[in-house]
Protein backbone atom coordinates (compact mmCIF):
# COMPACT_ATOMS: atom_id res chain seq x y z
CA UNK A 1 0.00 0.00 0.00
CA UNK A 2 1.19 3.49 -0.79
CA UNK A 3 2.37 5.38 2.26
CA UNK A 4 1.57 9.05 2.18
CA UNK A 5 3.21 11.29 4.78
CA UNK A 6 1.12 14.40 5.34
CA UNK A 7 2.48 15.22 8.80
CA UNK A 8 5.50 17.36 7.97
CA UNK A 9 4.59 19.82 10.67
CA UNK A 10 5.48 17.25 13.33
CA UNK A 11 8.75 16.40 11.62
CA UNK A 12 10.20 16.04 8.15
CA UNK A 13 12.07 13.20 6.46
CA UNK A 14 15.81 13.75 6.29
CA UNK A 15 16.95 14.98 2.88
CA UNK A 16 19.35 12.38 1.49
CA UNK A 17 21.86 15.13 0.73
CA UNK A 18 21.74 16.09 4.41
CA UNK A 19 22.48 12.50 5.34
CA UNK A 20 25.49 12.49 3.04
CA UNK A 21 26.76 15.72 4.58
CA UNK A 22 26.32 14.35 8.08
CA UNK A 23 27.80 10.91 7.51
CA UNK A 24 31.49 11.84 7.55
CA UNK A 25 30.96 13.55 10.91
CA UNK A 26 29.50 10.36 12.30
CA UNK A 27 32.06 7.98 10.86
CA UNK A 28 35.28 9.74 10.04
CA UNK A 29 35.42 13.08 11.87
CA UNK A 30 34.21 12.22 15.30
CA UNK A 31 36.36 14.75 17.19
CA UNK A 32 35.25 17.00 20.02
CA UNK A 33 35.55 20.66 18.98
CA UNK A 34 36.90 21.55 22.42
CA UNK A 35 39.78 19.13 21.88
CA UNK A 36 40.97 21.12 18.90
CA UNK A 37 44.68 20.80 19.52
CA UNK A 38 44.65 17.78 17.25
CA UNK A 39 43.34 17.00 13.78
CA UNK A 40 40.14 15.31 14.91
CA UNK A 41 39.09 18.12 17.21
CA UNK A 42 40.18 20.75 14.75
CA UNK A 43 38.08 19.21 11.97
CA UNK A 44 35.07 19.20 14.29
CA UNK A 45 35.64 22.80 15.32
CA UNK A 46 35.92 23.96 11.73
CA UNK A 47 32.80 22.03 10.77
CA UNK A 48 30.83 23.74 13.54
CA UNK A 49 32.15 27.16 12.50
CA UNK A 50 31.19 26.54 8.89
CA UNK A 51 27.79 25.28 9.98
CA UNK A 52 27.24 28.45 11.97
CA UNK A 53 27.74 30.52 8.83
CA UNK A 54 25.37 28.37 6.80
CA UNK A 55 22.59 28.50 9.36
CA UNK A 56 23.13 32.24 9.77
CA UNK A 57 22.76 32.68 6.02
CA UNK A 58 19.30 31.10 6.08
CA UNK A 59 17.94 34.12 7.95
CA UNK A 60 20.43 36.82 6.98
CA UNK A 61 22.19 36.74 10.35
CA UNK A 62 25.88 36.95 11.23
CA UNK A 63 27.56 33.65 12.18
CA UNK A 64 28.26 34.91 15.70
CA UNK A 65 24.54 35.42 16.20
CA UNK A 66 23.70 31.72 15.90
CA UNK A 67 23.66 29.58 19.04
CA UNK A 68 23.21 25.86 18.47
CA UNK A 69 20.87 24.04 20.85
CA UNK A 70 19.29 20.59 21.10
CA UNK A 71 16.10 21.75 19.40
CA UNK A 72 13.28 24.26 19.19
CA UNK A 73 12.02 23.61 22.70
CA UNK A 74 15.39 24.44 24.20
CA UNK A 75 15.72 27.48 21.94
CA UNK A 76 12.31 28.78 22.99
CA UNK A 77 13.12 28.20 26.66
CA UNK A 78 16.44 29.99 26.28
CA UNK A 79 14.80 32.90 24.49
CA UNK A 80 12.06 33.35 27.06
CA UNK A 81 13.86 32.54 30.30
CA UNK A 82 17.31 33.75 29.28
CA UNK A 83 15.98 37.11 28.19
CA UNK A 84 13.80 37.53 31.25
CA UNK A 85 16.77 36.83 33.48
CA UNK A 86 18.85 39.51 31.77
CA UNK A 87 16.06 42.06 31.69
CA UNK A 88 16.77 43.09 35.23
CA UNK A 89 14.65 43.08 38.28
CA UNK A 90 12.46 46.00 37.37
CA UNK A 91 11.13 44.31 34.25
CA UNK A 92 8.73 41.60 35.24
CA UNK A 93 6.18 41.50 32.47
CA UNK A 94 6.03 39.24 29.42
CA UNK A 95 3.75 39.40 26.39
CA UNK A 96 2.99 36.36 24.22
CA UNK A 97 0.37 35.47 21.67
CA UNK A 98 -2.36 33.06 22.67
CA UNK A 99 -1.27 30.48 20.11
CA UNK A 100 2.36 30.00 21.07
CA UNK A 101 3.71 26.49 21.39
CA UNK A 102 3.93 24.78 24.80
CA UNK A 103 7.68 25.38 24.81
CA UNK A 104 6.96 29.11 25.02
CA UNK A 105 3.79 28.88 27.11
CA UNK A 106 5.19 26.49 29.69
CA UNK A 107 8.44 28.44 29.95
CA UNK A 108 6.25 31.17 31.42
CA UNK A 109 5.34 28.97 34.39
CA UNK A 110 8.59 29.57 36.29
CA UNK A 111 8.31 33.26 35.43
CA UNK A 112 4.78 33.43 36.78
CA UNK A 113 5.95 31.58 39.89
CA UNK A 114 8.65 34.21 40.27
CA UNK A 115 6.01 36.93 40.23
CA UNK A 116 6.02 37.93 36.57
CA UNK A 117 2.89 39.23 35.00
CA UNK A 118 2.03 37.70 31.62
CA UNK A 119 -0.19 39.27 28.99
CA UNK A 120 -1.58 36.74 26.53
CA UNK A 121 -2.60 38.41 23.29
CA UNK A 122 -5.82 37.18 21.70
CA UNK A 123 -5.91 36.19 18.04
CA UNK A 124 -8.76 36.62 15.57
CA UNK A 125 -10.77 33.78 13.98
CA UNK A 126 -8.01 33.28 11.44
CA UNK A 127 -5.37 33.09 14.13
CA UNK A 128 -3.84 36.49 13.43
CA UNK A 129 -2.29 38.62 16.16
CA UNK A 130 -3.32 42.26 15.90
CA UNK A 131 -0.25 44.56 15.86
CA UNK A 132 -2.30 47.25 17.58
CA UNK A 133 -2.98 44.87 20.44
CA UNK A 134 0.78 44.33 20.70
CA UNK A 135 1.33 48.08 20.86
CA UNK A 136 -1.14 48.46 23.73
CA UNK A 137 0.23 45.46 25.60
CA UNK A 138 3.88 46.58 25.71
CA UNK A 139 4.82 48.51 28.81
CA UNK A 140 7.84 50.12 30.36
CA UNK A 141 8.45 47.00 32.43
CA UNK A 142 7.98 44.48 29.62
CA UNK A 143 10.96 42.12 29.54
CA UNK A 144 9.99 40.15 26.45
CA UNK A 145 7.55 39.79 23.58
CA UNK A 146 7.13 36.42 21.90
CA UNK A 147 5.05 35.90 18.77
CA UNK A 148 5.58 32.93 16.49
CA UNK A 149 6.21 33.25 12.77
CA UNK A 150 3.75 30.55 11.71
CA UNK A 151 1.48 28.32 13.71
CA UNK A 152 1.91 24.56 13.30
CA UNK A 153 -1.67 23.67 13.92
CA UNK A 154 -3.54 26.15 11.76
CA UNK A 155 -0.78 27.35 9.43
CA UNK A 156 -1.37 31.06 9.91
CA UNK A 157 1.61 33.36 9.27
CA UNK A 158 1.85 36.25 11.72
CA UNK A 159 2.83 39.81 10.75
CA UNK A 160 6.16 39.57 12.57
CA UNK A 161 7.83 42.40 10.64
CA UNK A 162 5.21 44.88 11.73
CA UNK A 163 5.09 43.51 15.26
CA UNK A 164 8.89 43.68 15.38
CA UNK A 165 8.88 47.35 14.50
CA UNK A 166 6.47 48.01 17.35
CA UNK A 167 8.67 46.09 19.76
CA UNK A 168 11.78 47.89 18.54
CA UNK A 169 10.10 51.25 19.11
CA UNK A 170 9.11 50.19 22.60
CA UNK A 171 12.59 48.83 23.29
CA UNK A 172 11.27 45.38 24.10
CA UNK A 173 13.27 42.27 23.06
CA UNK A 174 11.24 40.40 20.45
CA UNK A 175 11.34 36.63 20.12
CA UNK A 176 10.01 34.87 17.04
CA UNK A 177 9.46 31.11 17.13
CA UNK A 178 10.13 30.17 13.52
CA UNK A 179 10.05 26.42 14.13
CA UNK A 180 7.24 25.80 11.66
CA UNK A 181 8.27 28.37 9.06
CA UNK A 182 12.06 28.48 8.85
CA UNK A 183 13.33 26.86 5.69
CA UNK A 184 9.87 27.04 4.16
CA UNK A 185 9.11 30.73 3.81
CA UNK A 186 11.66 33.56 3.92
CA UNK A 187 12.56 35.26 7.18
CA UNK A 188 15.37 37.79 7.05
CA UNK A 189 16.50 39.38 10.29
CA UNK A 190 17.83 42.35 8.33
CA UNK A 191 14.23 43.17 7.52
CA UNK A 192 12.31 41.69 10.43
CA UNK A 193 13.46 43.40 13.61
CA UNK A 194 13.44 40.26 15.73
CA UNK A 195 16.04 39.99 18.46
CA UNK A 196 15.68 36.24 18.96
CA UNK A 197 14.58 33.62 16.44
CA UNK A 198 14.06 29.91 17.10
CA UNK A 199 15.07 27.46 14.36
CA UNK A 200 14.48 23.72 14.30
CA UNK A 201 16.52 21.39 12.13
CA UNK A 202 14.05 18.51 11.96
CA UNK A 203 11.36 20.81 10.65
CA UNK A 204 13.25 21.56 7.44
CA UNK A 205 14.56 18.16 6.38
CA UNK A 206 17.41 18.05 8.88
CA UNK A 207 17.72 15.58 11.76
CA UNK A 208 16.16 15.73 15.22
CA UNK A 209 18.39 16.73 18.11
CA UNK A 210 19.58 20.09 16.80
CA UNK A 211 18.10 23.54 16.79
CA UNK A 212 19.40 27.05 16.99
CA UNK A 213 18.60 30.37 18.52
CA UNK A 214 19.43 33.55 16.66
CA UNK A 215 20.53 36.12 19.23
CA UNK A 216 20.94 39.54 17.66
CA UNK A 217 24.24 41.24 18.46
CA UNK A 218 23.74 43.27 21.60
CA UNK A 219 20.77 41.26 22.87
CA UNK A 220 21.36 39.91 26.32
CA UNK A 221 20.47 36.31 27.06
CA UNK A 222 21.53 34.43 30.18
CA UNK A 223 22.56 30.82 29.59
CA UNK A 224 20.35 28.00 30.86
CA UNK A 225 22.87 25.16 30.56
CA UNK A 226 26.01 25.48 32.65
CA UNK A 227 29.37 23.83 32.12
CA UNK A 228 32.17 24.31 29.60
CA UNK A 229 32.58 27.33 27.38
CA UNK A 230 30.87 26.12 24.22
CA UNK A 231 28.59 28.19 21.98
CA UNK A 232 30.17 31.50 22.98
CA UNK A 233 29.07 30.87 26.54
CA UNK A 234 25.35 30.69 25.71
CA UNK A 235 25.09 26.91 25.95
CA UNK A 236 27.47 24.49 27.59
CA UNK A 237 28.00 20.89 26.51
CA UNK A 238 29.89 19.06 23.80
CA UNK A 239 28.43 20.12 20.48
CA UNK A 240 26.30 17.65 18.53
CA UNK A 241 28.71 17.95 15.62
CA UNK A 242 26.99 15.64 13.11
CA UNK A 243 23.63 17.18 14.02
CA UNK A 244 24.96 20.69 13.60
CA UNK A 245 26.63 19.87 10.29
CA UNK A 246 23.39 18.28 9.12
CA UNK A 247 21.25 21.21 10.21
CA UNK A 248 23.58 23.50 8.29
CA UNK A 249 23.37 21.33 5.18
CA UNK A 250 19.59 21.40 5.47
CA UNK A 251 19.67 25.18 5.89
CA UNK A 252 21.88 25.59 2.83
CA UNK A 253 19.55 23.43 0.74
CA UNK A 254 16.48 25.27 2.02
CA UNK A 255 18.07 28.66 1.31
CA UNK A 256 18.41 27.64 -2.34
CA UNK A 257 15.29 25.60 -2.86
CA UNK A 258 12.55 26.90 -0.61
CA UNK A 259 11.08 29.02 -3.38
CA UNK A 260 10.54 25.95 -5.56
CA UNK A 261 9.17 23.98 -2.65
CA UNK A 262 6.72 26.72 -1.84
CA UNK A 263 5.47 26.84 -5.43
CA UNK A 264 5.00 23.10 -5.53
CA UNK A 265 3.36 22.98 -2.11
CA UNK A 266 1.18 25.96 -2.90
CA UNK A 267 -0.24 24.02 -5.86
CA UNK A 268 -0.77 20.82 -3.89
CA UNK A 269 -2.26 22.77 -1.00
CA UNK A 270 -4.78 24.46 -3.27
CA UNK A 271 -5.74 21.16 -4.84
CA UNK A 272 -6.27 19.66 -1.41
CA UNK A 273 -8.19 22.67 -0.11
CA UNK A 274 -10.46 22.72 -3.15
CA UNK A 275 -11.10 19.00 -2.94
CA UNK A 276 -11.92 19.08 0.75
CA UNK A 277 -14.38 21.94 0.28
CA UNK A 278 -16.80 19.34 -1.05
CA UNK A 279 -17.12 17.59 2.32
CA UNK A 280 -20.20 18.84 4.14
CA UNK A 281 -19.81 20.28 7.63
CA UNK A 282 -16.04 20.69 7.16
CA UNK A 283 -14.49 23.93 8.37
CA UNK A 284 -11.05 25.16 7.42
CA UNK A 285 -8.92 26.71 10.15
CA UNK A 286 -6.29 29.41 9.96
CA UNK A 287 -5.98 32.24 7.50
CA UNK A 288 -7.11 31.39 3.95
CA UNK A 289 -4.10 33.02 2.26
CA UNK A 290 -1.56 34.08 4.91
CA UNK A 291 -0.58 30.51 5.59
CA UNK A 292 2.25 28.03 5.25
CA UNK A 293 2.40 26.51 1.76
CA UNK A 294 1.10 22.95 1.69
CA UNK A 295 -0.56 23.33 5.07
CA UNK A 296 -4.29 22.57 5.10
CA UNK A 297 -6.08 22.38 8.42
CA UNK A 298 -9.73 21.92 9.23
CA UNK A 299 -12.24 20.29 11.51
CA UNK A 300 -15.22 18.23 10.63
CA UNK A 301 -18.41 17.93 12.60
CA UNK A 302 -19.69 14.56 13.85
CA UNK A 303 -16.45 12.67 13.46
CA UNK A 304 -13.85 12.39 16.15
CA UNK A 305 -10.29 13.38 15.33
CA UNK A 306 -8.39 10.37 16.52
CA UNK A 307 -10.72 8.03 14.65
CA UNK A 308 -10.26 10.05 11.50
CA UNK A 309 -6.47 9.92 11.85
CA UNK A 310 -6.46 6.24 12.71
CA UNK A 311 -8.62 5.42 9.73
CA UNK A 312 -6.49 7.57 7.44
CA UNK A 313 -3.42 5.73 8.68
CA UNK A 314 -5.02 2.39 7.86
CA UNK A 315 -5.55 3.78 4.37
CA UNK A 316 -1.85 4.69 4.26
CA UNK A 317 -2.25 8.40 4.88
CA UNK A 318 -0.35 9.79 7.85
CA UNK A 319 -1.64 13.01 9.31
CA UNK A 320 -2.04 14.56 12.73
CA UNK A 321 -4.19 16.95 14.61
CA UNK A 322 -1.74 19.79 14.24
CA UNK A 323 0.50 20.04 17.20
CA UNK A 324 2.12 16.70 17.88
CA UNK A 325 1.95 17.53 21.55
CA UNK A 326 -1.75 17.95 21.67
CA UNK A 327 -2.37 14.43 20.47
CA UNK A 328 -0.14 12.95 23.07
CA UNK A 329 -1.47 9.58 24.15
CA UNK A 330 1.22 9.55 26.80
CA UNK A 331 -0.13 12.63 28.48
CA UNK A 332 -1.13 12.46 32.09
CA UNK A 333 -4.78 12.69 31.27
CA UNK A 334 -7.13 12.67 28.40
CA UNK A 335 -7.20 16.49 28.38
CA UNK A 336 -4.32 16.35 25.92
CA UNK A 337 -6.46 14.65 23.36
CA UNK A 338 -9.34 16.97 23.57
CA UNK A 339 -8.43 20.49 24.28
CA UNK A 340 -6.30 22.24 21.68
CA UNK A 341 -5.48 25.66 23.09
CA UNK A 342 -4.94 26.96 19.57
CA UNK A 343 -8.39 25.90 18.34
CA UNK A 344 -9.92 27.36 21.47
CA UNK A 345 -8.04 30.59 20.84
CA UNK A 346 -9.56 30.91 17.37
CA UNK A 347 -13.01 30.22 18.76
CA UNK A 348 -13.75 26.69 17.54
CA UNK A 349 -16.52 25.33 19.76
CA UNK A 350 -14.90 22.93 22.16
CA UNK A 351 -17.32 20.04 21.60
CA UNK A 352 -16.08 19.68 18.04
CA UNK A 353 -12.44 20.53 18.44
CA UNK A 354 -11.78 16.86 18.56
CA UNK A 355 -12.45 16.47 14.86
CA UNK A 356 -9.48 18.57 13.82
CA UNK A 357 -6.93 17.50 11.25
CA UNK A 358 -3.81 19.08 9.85
CA UNK A 359 -2.52 17.92 6.51
CA UNK A 360 1.00 19.29 6.30
CA UNK A 361 2.65 18.48 3.01
CA UNK A 362 6.33 18.31 2.23
CA UNK A 363 8.53 18.81 -0.78
CA UNK A 364 8.39 15.11 -1.59
CA UNK A 365 4.62 14.84 -1.83
CA UNK A 366 2.85 14.48 -5.18
CA UNK A 367 -0.48 15.26 -6.81
CA UNK A 368 -1.16 11.54 -6.84
CA UNK A 369 -0.88 11.49 -3.06
CA UNK A 370 -3.25 14.42 -2.72
CA UNK A 371 -5.71 12.53 -4.89
CA UNK A 372 -5.40 9.49 -2.64
CA UNK A 373 -6.25 11.60 0.39
CA UNK A 374 -9.13 13.27 -1.40
CA UNK A 375 -10.45 9.89 -2.32
CA UNK A 376 -10.11 8.43 1.17
CA UNK A 377 -11.22 11.17 3.49
CA UNK A 378 -14.85 11.70 2.41
CA UNK A 379 -15.57 7.98 2.80
CA UNK A 380 -13.94 7.86 6.21
CA UNK A 381 -15.90 10.88 7.40
CA UNK A 382 -19.06 9.34 6.05
CA UNK A 383 -18.38 6.05 7.76
CA UNK A 384 -17.63 7.59 11.15
CA UNK A 385 -20.64 9.82 10.92
CA UNK A 386 -22.85 6.84 10.24
CA UNK A 387 -21.62 5.48 13.53
CA UNK A 388 -22.09 8.71 15.46
CA UNK A 389 -25.14 9.37 17.62
CA UNK A 390 -24.63 13.12 17.20
CA UNK A 391 -24.89 12.84 13.41
CA UNK A 392 -28.07 10.80 13.73
CA UNK A 393 -29.58 13.54 15.86
CA UNK A 394 -28.39 16.16 13.41
CA UNK A 395 -29.99 14.34 10.50
CA UNK A 396 -33.26 14.01 12.39
CA UNK A 397 -33.22 17.74 13.16
CA UNK A 398 -32.60 18.45 9.48
CA UNK A 399 -35.35 16.14 8.20
CA UNK A 400 -37.75 17.77 10.65
CA UNK A 401 -36.88 20.95 8.73
CA UNK A 402 -34.65 22.18 11.55
Amino acid sequence: MAKVFFDHISTTPLDSRVFEAMKPYLLEWYGNPSSHIHDQGQAALRAVDKARSEVAALIGAKPGEIVFTSGATESNNLAVLGTAEEAGNGKRHAVVSGIEHFSVMNALIPLRNAGYEVTVLPVDRDGLVDPDAVRSALRGDTALLSVMHANSEIGTIEPVAEIGRIAREAGVPFHVDATASAGHIPLDVREVPADLVTLSSHNFYGPKGTGALFVREGTKVAPRVFGGFQEMGYRAGTENVPGIVAMAAAAAIASKEMGHWADHLGRLGKMLWDGLSGIPLLHFTGHPTKRLPGHVSFWVEHAEGESLLLFLNVKGIMAASGSACSSNLRGQDEEDLVASPVLRAIGVPSDICTGSITFSLGKGNTEEEVRLALDALPRIVERLREMSPTYLDYQKRMSQGG
Partner: protein, 127 residues
Protein backbone atom coordinates in the same frame (compact mmCIF):
# COMPACT_ATOMS: atom_id res chain seq x y z
CA UNK B 1 3.10 -6.08 16.28
CA UNK B 2 0.52 -3.66 14.97
CA UNK B 3 1.29 -0.39 13.35
CA UNK B 4 -0.86 1.90 15.47
CA UNK B 5 -1.11 2.62 19.16
CA UNK B 6 -3.68 -0.18 19.55
CA UNK B 7 -3.71 -3.96 19.64
CA UNK B 8 -4.67 -5.88 16.51
CA UNK B 9 -7.97 -6.75 18.20
CA UNK B 10 -8.84 -3.11 18.82
CA UNK B 11 -8.03 -2.26 15.23
CA UNK B 12 -10.09 -5.15 13.94
CA UNK B 13 -13.15 -3.97 15.90
CA UNK B 14 -12.48 -0.36 14.96
CA UNK B 15 -12.35 -1.15 11.26
CA UNK B 16 -15.23 -3.66 11.37
CA UNK B 17 -17.40 -2.70 14.29
CA UNK B 18 -20.12 -5.20 15.17
CA UNK B 19 -23.70 -4.16 15.85
CA UNK B 20 -23.61 -0.57 14.67
CA UNK B 21 -27.08 0.91 14.39
CA UNK B 22 -30.30 1.41 16.24
CA UNK B 23 -33.09 -0.83 17.47
CA UNK B 24 -36.55 0.51 16.72
CA UNK B 25 -38.58 0.46 19.89
CA UNK B 26 -35.66 -0.73 21.98
CA UNK B 27 -36.44 -2.06 25.44
CA UNK B 28 -33.62 -0.04 26.93
CA UNK B 29 -31.52 2.83 25.65
CA UNK B 30 -28.47 4.18 27.41
CA UNK B 31 -26.41 7.23 26.58
CA UNK B 32 -23.14 8.17 28.24
CA UNK B 33 -20.30 10.54 27.51
CA UNK B 34 -20.35 13.90 25.84
CA UNK B 35 -18.86 14.99 22.53
CA UNK B 36 -17.15 17.88 24.33
CA UNK B 37 -15.17 15.30 26.26
CA UNK B 38 -14.23 13.53 23.06
CA UNK B 39 -16.62 10.64 23.16
CA UNK B 40 -20.25 9.66 23.44
CA UNK B 41 -21.96 6.28 23.19
CA UNK B 42 -25.59 5.36 22.73
CA UNK B 43 -26.56 1.76 23.36
CA UNK B 44 -29.88 0.12 22.31
CA UNK B 45 -30.98 -3.16 23.88
CA UNK B 46 -33.70 -5.65 22.98
CA UNK B 47 -34.46 -7.72 26.07
CA UNK B 48 -36.46 -10.90 25.91
CA UNK B 49 -37.14 -13.24 28.82
CA UNK B 50 -34.54 -11.55 30.97
CA UNK B 51 -31.85 -11.91 28.35
CA UNK B 52 -30.12 -9.47 26.01
CA UNK B 53 -31.57 -10.60 22.72
CA UNK B 54 -29.97 -7.86 20.65
CA UNK B 55 -27.66 -4.88 21.15
CA UNK B 56 -26.76 -2.04 18.82
CA UNK B 57 -24.70 1.07 19.31
CA UNK B 58 -23.74 4.38 17.91
CA UNK B 59 -20.53 5.96 19.15
CA UNK B 60 -18.76 9.22 18.57
CA UNK B 61 -15.20 8.82 19.74
CA UNK B 62 -11.70 7.58 19.32
CA UNK B 63 -10.58 4.16 18.15
CA UNK B 64 -10.74 2.72 21.65
CA UNK B 65 -14.25 4.06 22.16
CA UNK B 66 -15.54 2.50 18.98
CA UNK B 67 -13.78 -0.81 19.59
CA UNK B 68 -14.99 -0.93 23.19
CA UNK B 69 -18.53 -0.30 22.04
CA UNK B 70 -18.33 -3.02 19.45
CA UNK B 71 -16.74 -5.52 21.82
CA UNK B 72 -19.25 -4.73 24.53
CA UNK B 73 -22.24 -5.49 22.32
CA UNK B 74 -20.68 -8.82 21.40
CA UNK B 75 -20.05 -9.64 25.02
CA UNK B 76 -23.53 -8.91 26.35
CA UNK B 77 -25.59 -10.51 23.62
CA UNK B 78 -27.18 -13.65 25.03
CA UNK B 79 -26.37 -12.77 28.61
CA UNK B 80 -29.04 -12.39 31.28
CA UNK B 81 -29.76 -8.88 32.45
CA UNK B 82 -27.85 -9.60 35.64
CA UNK B 83 -24.86 -11.02 33.79
CA UNK B 84 -24.82 -8.05 31.42
CA UNK B 85 -24.88 -5.63 34.33
CA UNK B 86 -21.91 -7.44 35.82
CA UNK B 87 -19.65 -6.89 32.78
CA UNK B 88 -16.76 -4.67 33.84
CA UNK B 89 -14.64 -2.26 31.88
CA UNK B 90 -11.61 -4.41 32.57
CA UNK B 91 -13.30 -7.39 30.92
CA UNK B 92 -13.96 -5.24 27.88
CA UNK B 93 -10.37 -4.01 27.81
CA UNK B 94 -9.05 -7.53 28.26
CA UNK B 95 -11.25 -8.88 25.49
CA UNK B 96 -9.63 -6.26 23.27
CA UNK B 97 -6.14 -7.50 24.25
CA UNK B 98 -5.61 -4.39 26.32
CA UNK B 99 -5.94 -0.65 25.87
CA UNK B 100 -3.36 2.11 26.33
CA UNK B 101 -3.52 3.52 29.87
CA UNK B 102 -5.01 6.84 28.82
CA UNK B 103 -7.73 4.97 26.94
CA UNK B 104 -9.07 2.85 29.78
CA UNK B 105 -11.86 5.39 30.25
CA UNK B 106 -13.28 4.30 26.91
CA UNK B 107 -13.95 0.85 28.28
CA UNK B 108 -15.44 2.53 31.34
CA UNK B 109 -17.82 4.33 29.02
CA UNK B 110 -18.92 1.01 27.56
CA UNK B 111 -19.53 -0.45 31.00
CA UNK B 112 -21.55 2.60 31.98
CA UNK B 113 -23.58 2.42 28.78
CA UNK B 114 -24.87 -1.06 29.66
CA UNK B 115 -25.81 0.04 33.14
CA UNK B 116 -27.52 3.11 31.78
CA UNK B 117 -29.47 1.07 29.20
CA UNK B 118 -30.43 -1.52 31.79
CA UNK B 119 -31.58 1.24 34.14
CA UNK B 120 -33.73 2.57 31.34
CA UNK B 121 -35.10 -0.95 30.74
CA UNK B 122 -35.86 -1.35 34.45
CA UNK B 123 -37.65 2.00 34.49
CA UNK B 124 -39.73 1.07 31.46
CA UNK B 125 -40.42 -2.46 32.74
CA UNK B 126 -40.91 -2.05 36.46
CA UNK B 127 -41.26 -5.28 38.43
Amino acid sequence: MTAGPYSAKVMEHFMNPRNVGEIDGADGVGEVGNPACGDMMRLYLRIEEGRVKDAKFRTFGCGAAIASSSMLTEMIKGKTVEEARAVTNLQVAEALDGLPAVKIHCSVMAEQAVKSALDDYAKKHPG
